[in-house]
Structures are given as C-alpha cells and as structure tokens.
C-alpha cells in the first residue's frame, strides 16, 4: 500500500528489475507484468517492503522481473512461503503469482487454505488453460475434450472454475480480468488495496500452446458481445452500447435486451460485491447451465474480514498484555522444580 514517506515518487519503470524477461514473444504475461509495474507505481509500493512470491510455471518467473524482494519457490507451494513471510513480518506487502497448474493442480490444497485464513496477500492466478512450461499438456482448467500432447483423444476431466473455487474457499476478495482487458489495471489496484487474500483470476493467452483461448473475451467484438463489467451499485449491463442486461427471473439469471424486451435498467440485477451468494451465481456465468450469460469481469466479491496475520499479531499482543513479555529465566525454571542439597 502507498505510504506517505516523503520519498521520491516512483514510476512504473522503477519497478522493473534489470533481468531480461524470458517469456515467449507474444505471451500474455508481458501485458500483465506491465500492468503490475504500473499498479505498484499507482499505490506507490515501497520496493524494500514489497515481496513477490511464486511457485513454478511460466507465470511463476514473475518475481525475477520486479525490482522488489522476490522468492521463486517450488511447485504449488507459494502459499506456504507467503504465510511464513507474513507471520514473520506482517508489515510487508506480499504478492503471489501462480497459474492454473501451480495454483489449482499441485498447489490447490495450499491455495484454499490460504484463502480461508485470509492471509494478507494479492494473488494473481494466470489462467491460460494449458501447461506451458512443460510444453503443452492439459491443465485443471482446460475444457473437457481438449486435445493436447497428453490427451490425444481429448481430455476426460471436468474443468475447475477458479473463481468458484476461491469463493468456496471463503476468499474475502474474488475478481476476474484478462491480460489484454482494458480494465485490468483497475482490478489489480482494487486487489492491492484490499486487506486480506485478494484473489484475481487473469485469463492469459498462451500463444504457443493454447493461442486464442480467450479471443471471445479479449478481441474487440468478443468483448462487446460477451464481457459483463461489474461495477458496485450499478445495473448489470453489457454489449456494445450497454443495451443488454442481466435480470433474475424466479431465481434464475437471464439476458434481456433493454431496447426490445421492455425491461427497464431498474429491473436488472444490481451488482453488490458484498453478496456472497450472488457472487457464487456470477461465477457460474458462461459455465454449463448458464452458457447464455456474459462473462463477468471485475470484482465478483469483496468483504471485510480480519486478516490471519493481523489476528496472529493480536493474539501475541493479548498474551503480552495479560502476563507481560516472556522472561527466559522464568521459563527455564518452570515445571515441578525440586532442590538437591
């Protein structure tokens, strides 16, 4: 978070490290990296108080390219490192970068537990629906039937829905955006400012192994047709001129045309990011059973909840307040002591 330090104002380029970025030319990760540099400047993150932690995978090379402290850890386990860092020093601003394989396959266990604890961290999950670094196997978010090197007859697995997983794991902030989306900066900034686990799913194009997977959301026409930008307190409208909307009928969402269906904006669903049940419904849009609905981008859910690291500190402080700071000699002479003369 920004702090009024009186230090010189840092620009986006000040957050770039001196390392050559080694993603494939054309990879969606470049755009995300640039946006993160910008958001760090927007919130005036202090580089020495900022830590980027990652697991393994293409996305997880991210820490090398940010001029802050960084830890490129092991596959799937970034949440453990993040939790340890925040327990050691809750003052640090920690970002975790993961992918659909790192975060939802090998590391899914850790991710859900970090989310339910609400460790204060900004989580960027790059979802390209493919394994890139191992050269093109299907991932836990790949669509059923996907033909890859390891699934020549099509994958049999039903895909995970990352936002739904995060909500089920009691995350306090769940958002979705895409590498090329014009509003990615806003979403990242909101995530940075949220106290607690901010979970951001970022659709990311892997131009080598899964090119065009998100064209229907990131191309101009696709975005106009399919993306619903969520804004708190605003009716859910989308489409080129914003004349399509989403309303609830009998508890089920449906798409309406404001010009043709005789529906007024007031009759549409209004976005309330603090409504967890509604967020769970939004997370299903464009998924099986809800194919007609648009893809929500933006903050699906946000709630204030004490952070794990803050609660740990509070317990330590309460223990000290009650009985004073620990005295080593007192401890060393505790127990059932007897004297031999």
């Amino acid at each position: 978070m920004s702090k009024d330090t009186g230090l010189p104002v840092l620009k986006a380029k000040d957050y770039a490290s001196d390392q050559t970025v080694r993603w494939c030319p054309g990879c969606g990760d470049y755009a995300i990296l640039n946006h993160v540099h910008r958001v760090l400047a927007t919130v005036q993150a202090q580089p020495e108080n900022t830590v980027f932690v990652a697991g393994i995978g293409c996305s997880s090379r991210f820490p090398y390219y940010v001029d802050t402290y960084g830890l490129h850890s092991i596959h799937g386990r970034a949440p453990g490192f993040v939790t340890g860092i925040k327990l050691a020093n809750p003052e640090l601003d920690v970002w975790m970068v993961t992918g659909d394989g790192d975060g939802l396959s090998i590391g899914a266990n850790h991710l859900v537990h970090m989310l339910r604890r609400n460790v204060d961290v900004n989580i960027l999950l790059f979802n390209n629906r493919i394994y890139g670094l191992t050269k093109g196997q299907y991932s836990p978010t790949s669509e059923t039937g996907k033909k890859t090197k390891s699934t020549p007859m099509g994958s049999l697995d039903f895909p995970l829905n990352p936002a739904a997983v995060a909500l089920a794991a009691e995350a306090s902030f769940v958002a979705r955006t895409a590498d090329k989306d014009r509003k990615i900066g806003e979403v990242l900034e909101q995530a940075a400012k949220h106290a607690g686990s901010s979970f951001v799913e970022i659709y990311q194009n892997c131009n080598i192994f899964n090119d065009g997977a998100f064209d229907d959301l990131t191309s101009k026409d696709g975005r106009d047709a399919n993306v619903l930008y969520l804004e708190a307190g605003k009716p859910m409208t989308f489409g080129k001129d914003g004349r399509k909307g989403v309303r609830l009928v009998g508890g089920q969402p449906e798409v309406v045309d404001l010009d043709r269906d005789g529906v007024a904006e007031d009759d549409l669903l209004f976005h309330n990011p603090s409504d967890r049940a509604r967020a769970a419904l939004l997370a299903q849009f464009r998924r099986p059973g809800y194919e007609e609905l648009p893809e929500p981008f933006g903050v699906l859910f946000q709630a204030e909840r004490p952070t794990y690291d803050g609660l740990v500190e509070a317990q330590v402080q309460a223990a000290i307040d009650q009985r004073g700071p620990g005295n080593l000699d007192e401890l060393l002479s505790s127990g059932d002591v007897y004297e031999v003369e």
Partner: protein, 629 residues
C-alpha cells in the same frame, strides 16, 4: 541388578536401583501414574529415567493386548542412563497387561495384579483360555512375588460416598495402584496428593474428584500396611546428585524450550510451523501458549506447507522452524532442497519413529539418518545433528538454531520417540549461562556499494538481507544461481562451482566444532560409536565393560553432517569399532564409506531402546573375536 538377599523381616531390602512398570488399558491412566511415581522419586533424590510405551490407537478395544499402555521408570541411588533392561516390579491392571509384560519381569520380582479384572470376559478379550486363570498358574507364584489385590473393588470402596458416578470413581484406580507402589518402595504420597489437589481441586474446580483420587491414593498406600506386605518392601536410597535445582524433563519439552531460548538469544521471533504428527506434536502443544516470548505457531494444512512457511519466515528474517516425524520429513524433502539452494536459515526437527511408511508411530527408531543426509533431489548436503538425552534436546535445539541462523542453511535435528517421551532429571539452566546468538544481517547499503547476495565470507556463508531493508532488493529461488550476483544461471561451469560451494559451506562448519569427547581410554581394543537417543544405553554398556577390565571407549556423535574433523583419527586408535544403532546400519554405512573403517554393527528395530545387557554381551563377543584374530 543388585538385589540384596531377601530376608524375612520387616526391614525393607535395600537396592541400588529398581525398575517399576505400570501397565493397564490405555484408558487406565498408567502414563499419569508413572509420571507421578517419577516426579516423587526425583523429588526424593533418586536419579530417574523413564520409558513410556503406548499403543498408536487412542483407545484400542478395552482389555485387549493391543490396548495395553505401559510406563516404565528406573530410579536409583547411583547415576543411571537408561530406563532399565528388566522390570523389578510390575503393576498389571488387567489380564492383558499381565500377559503383555510378565516376560520382562526379573525372576523374583514383584507382580501386583488387579484381581478384580481377572474375569472370564476379560480373559477372552486378552485371548487367554477362559478356563485357565493365569493367577492359578503355579509358575507365577514360584517365579515371582505375586501380590493379588482386588484394586477395582477396593478403589470403589475408598471413593464411595462422594457422589461420584461409578465411571469417575473407577478412574481413580490408577491412584490406588500408585499408592500401593509408593508403599512398596517407601516413597511419600504427599507430593502426588498435593498435585492432585492443585489440579482437580483448584484448577479444574472439582474438589470431589480431587478428594476421590486422594482417598484412592491413601487407600492403596494403607493397603500395604494392613495386608502386612512388609517382607516385599524395597528401599532405594537417594542418589548422590550434584546439588542444585532440578526438574524432570522430557525430550519434547526440552527441545521446545531450546527453541524459545534460541529465539530470545538471537532476538528473533520463533515461527514454528507444523502439521500434527506423533511423536512430534507435543512440541507444537508446548510452543502454542508461549506467545509472550514472541513465538508464533502455525498449524499448517500439511507437512509441505509447514516447511514452506518456516522457510518463508527465515527469508523474512525470523527463526523459521518446522517439526515432524519420518513420514513428514519425506514430504518436506523438496522444500528443504530449496532451503539449501537459496541458503536460508531453517530448522527441521524430526522426532524419528518406526518406519517405513506409517510404520510404528508411537515407537522409537533411528532409521531416518540416511533420509536426513540424502533424502532430497540433487547433490544437496545440509547439516544434521542429534541430541543424546531428553535434557540434551534443549542444547541441541539451541545449536541447531545457531547454525541455521549463522550459516544460512537448513539444519536437521534428529530426535526420536524415546527421547521425545522419555524423561530424566534436568538441572536448571540460567539464561546467563547461555551465549547470545550473533547473526550478521545487512542493513541498508552505503552509497555506491554493490550488493551481491551470493558473495561469500571466509566460512563460505552468503550475506543475509531481509525484506524491509532498503537498497538490497534481490530475488532468490530454486533455479541455479550465478556465483556472486545470484541471478539465474544455466552456465555449466557455474553449476559445478555452486554445487561445490554449497557443499564446502556445510563442510566448513566442522572447523568450528569442539574436539571429540571420548568416554574411556583414548585408544584401545574397542570403540563403541553411537549417535542420538542411544547414548544412555551405550554409556552404561561401555562403563560396565570397563568395570570388567575391558579396553572399551565410547564416542557419541552429535554432528552427523558434517562429522567432526578428528573423527578419522579417533577411529584409527581402536582395534575394533562397534556401531550399535536402532536401524539396520545407517551410521555404519556412512562411517565405512567415509573413513574406510571395518566397523561392525549391532542393530535392532523393535521399537524399543537397547538393553544394556545385550550391548554388553556384544562387546564381550567382539573382544573375544578380536583377541582370537
């Protein structure tokens, strides 16, 4: 054993040491009774050593042999190092306990049985032929001094009239048995009575339960008197122990206390990250309430998250510790490798238990040495040290933390189930006797200073700059580092150099180790070489051998990696080397391959510590062979 000949008089026979074992169902409170007996004996001035032995199941079916829980104490008027080989007095609360433990009792020893439980249904549960009451077996009274007491009935009688339900009243019968044991060995009951009052009466606000337990304790004690068991009474006088303040301590308690002390001595928060696992969980339980010392405990979702959080804490500048047992160490291997390549401080406590896989969760073993040495991908040497007694876990924990913080390296601390749950008298330590742990940690750089996170000092240690330090932002990770800058490097020559530098850094720790302590002659016929929790048994066996005039010395290794620089010389000064281990020969393999010494093994994997007698016999056998060749 040194039984004085039993004379038929009311004067108790005097013993130098005695071993008592309490055995009953896992719900019978045997661990508690044994613990009280130990505390009272320690306070009485005896040297004590304990060996709890309990099933892995919380409540195995009542009355079965699988459900028998035992607690053994040796108490002595001399200096002892083990909980004893053979049992002088067995308290058997049911037929299953008698069946499971009678074979360990010395002929002529006391066998107290709770006859109330010797019923046909209980024989069936214990898989004893119901038509053959074991108490009717003439051999039982021929071989042992049988004391048949209807403990359950007498306990019910003693606790009557307090308004307790039969279940709560029945739970006092361990105190009846304890009272009788106190009478048999001439120990006072006040110490226990006072603690019962403080616990149930004051803390739990159940004066009725306190009163019932104390009545049972007193009734058991008085039973000895009224039943005129005087000829069976034994006396173990106080030991000549160095004056001072003592407490009884288990290995897990001492280890946890050592971690807290290390945190205080280094001015770092202890971040203890663990996933519950037997027999390491008590360390977590001990540390969780110690928040006043800046201790943070993190019960992680699994073993891997626990070690990763501990590394994260080390990365962020605090004392990250993870604790586990063998199966958990297997899960932590990859992360420990990350600790090695990122060169960050980390302490990994492994309270070893019987393996492989789930193995024998509640039994002791030393079979994770090679896992600790090599259980990671790549050439990945790191520091391995082992405590030798319950009390030594305190000092070993401080040393593990010191090495980890000063050398920026993962340290594996190999305790075991025997040390963890066993206890001994521990002379209190004062903080002024403990050296502060100095750690170089970089502050902000001077103007123009070039910061290279993978440069090295003369000990091969890289500088430590932690997040929050201005001007020293850098990235670490599991990819190979370029020597100096720490940037990712795939250069072949660099990988070779970095592999060597990491190994040298660990090897150089040996330069600062104290000379090896040899118990016994500096050279001679046989060196008994051991490590870890077998210290007491090996020491007692080597002392016994020397007392018999044999040329035997004992060296016990605390530092398994790196090993002390003078170990090779010491090994050469003995004609034979014997390495007893509670595994199938792991240290022996290391010693043979490192020093080309024809070391022999004595190996046991039965979930139990060595008997001094079996070690002594092996020494005798080796020396006969040695003199013949």
């Amino acid at each position: 054993m040194s039984h004085a000949p039993a004379v038929d008089s009311s004067a108790p026979s005097e013993l130098e040491q005695a071993v008592i074992r309490f055995a009953g169902d896992s719900g019978d409170g045997m661990q508690l009774a044994g613990g009280h007996f130990t505390d009272t004996s320690a306070a009485f001035g005896n040297d004590v050593a304990t060996l709890p032995d309990f099933p892995a199941e919380i409540r195995a079916p009542a009355g079965t042999v699988a459900g028998v829980s035992g607690f053994q104490v040796q108490f002595a008027s001399n200096d002892i190092h083990t909980a004893g080989d053979r049992v002088d007095a067995l308290i058997a609360m049911n037929p299953a306990a008698l069946k499971a433990h009678l074979a360990d009792v010395e002929h002529g020893g006391l066998v107290v049985v709770n006859t109330s439980e010797f019923t046909k249904p209980n024989f069936k549960k214990a898989e004893i032929d119901p038509s053959q009451n074991p108490l009717d077996d003439p051999e039982l009274s021929q071989n042992y001094k049988l004391i048949a007491v209807p403990i359950s009935e007498l306990n019910a009688e003693a606790t009557k009239g307090l308004g307790l339900n039969p279940r709560d009243a029945g739970r006092c019968k361990n105190m009846f048995a304890l009272g009788l044991a106190y009478w048999l060995f001439e120990r006072p009951i006040d110490h226990t009575a006072e603690r019962i009052e403080n616990y149930f009466g004051v803390k739990k606000k159940r004066p009725d339960i306190a009163q019932a337990n104390n009545r049972a304790l007193r009734a058991g004690y008085d039973f000895g008197e009224t039943a005129e068991l005087f000829p069976l009474r034994r006396r173990v006088p106080p030991a000549k122990i160095a004056p001072g303040k003592y407490r009884k301590i288990t290995g897990n308690e001492a280890l946890a206390m050592g971690l807290i002390a290390a945190g205080q001595l280094s001015g770092r928060k202890v971040i203890y990250c663990s996933y519950p696992i037997t027999p390491a969980s008590d360390i977590l339980h001990y540390l969780a309430p110690q928040k006043r010392f800046g201790v943070r405990t993190f019960q992680a979702e699994d073993e891997i998250a626990a070690v990763c959080a501990a590394i994260g804490a080390g990365f962020a500048g605090q004392l990250g510790v993870t604790g586990t047992s063998g199966p958990g160490l297997a899960l932590k291997g990859e992360a420990i490798g990350l600790g090695v390549i990122t060169e960050l401080p980390l302490v990994v406590v492994n309270v070893q238990r019987g393996g492989p896989s789930t193995g024998l969760p509640t039994k002791t073993e030393q079979s994770d040495l090679l896992q600790a040495m090599y259980g990671r991908n790549g050439d990945c040497p790191t520091v391995v040290i082992a405590p030798k007694s319950p009390g030594d876990c305190f000092h070993a924990a401080i040393e593990a933390c010191t090495i980890a913080l000063q050398r920026r390296v993962p340290v594996l601390l190999l305790s075991d189930g025997y040390l963890a749950n066993g206890s001994e008298p521990w002379r209190l330590v004062e903080s002024k006797d403990l050296a502060p742990i100095e750690v170089d940690q970089l502050g902000p750089p001077d103007n123009g200073e070039v910061f290279e996170p993978y440069s090295r000092d003369d000990k091969g240690v890289r500088p430590w700059a932690v997040p929050g330090t201005p001007g020293r932002m850098h990235r670490v990770g599991g990819l190979e580092k370029q020597d100096g800058t720490g940037n990712v490097s795939y250069d072949p020559e660099n990988h070779q150099r970095m592999t060597e530098l990491r190994a040298e850094k660990v090897a150089k720790i040996a330069d600062d180790l104290p000379p090896i302590e040899i118990e016994g002659p500096d050279s001679g016929d046989l060196l008994l070489l051991g490590w870890g929790g077998t210290y007491g048994s090996l020491r007692a066996a080597s002392e016994a051998a020397r007392a018999d005039g044999l040329s035997v010395a004992h060296v016990h290794l605390r530092h398994l990696n790196p090993m002390p620089n003078d170990l090779g010389d010491v090994l050469k000064r003995f004609k034979q080397v014997l390495i007893p281990e509670l595994n199938t020969g792991q240290l022996r393999m290391l010693i043979r391959s490192t020093y080309l010494v024809d070391a022999h093994g004595f190996n046991k994997v039965q979930g139990k510590p060595f008997h001094v007698s079996e070690l002594r016999a092996k020494i005798g056998e080796m020396l006969k062979q040695g003199s013949a060749s």
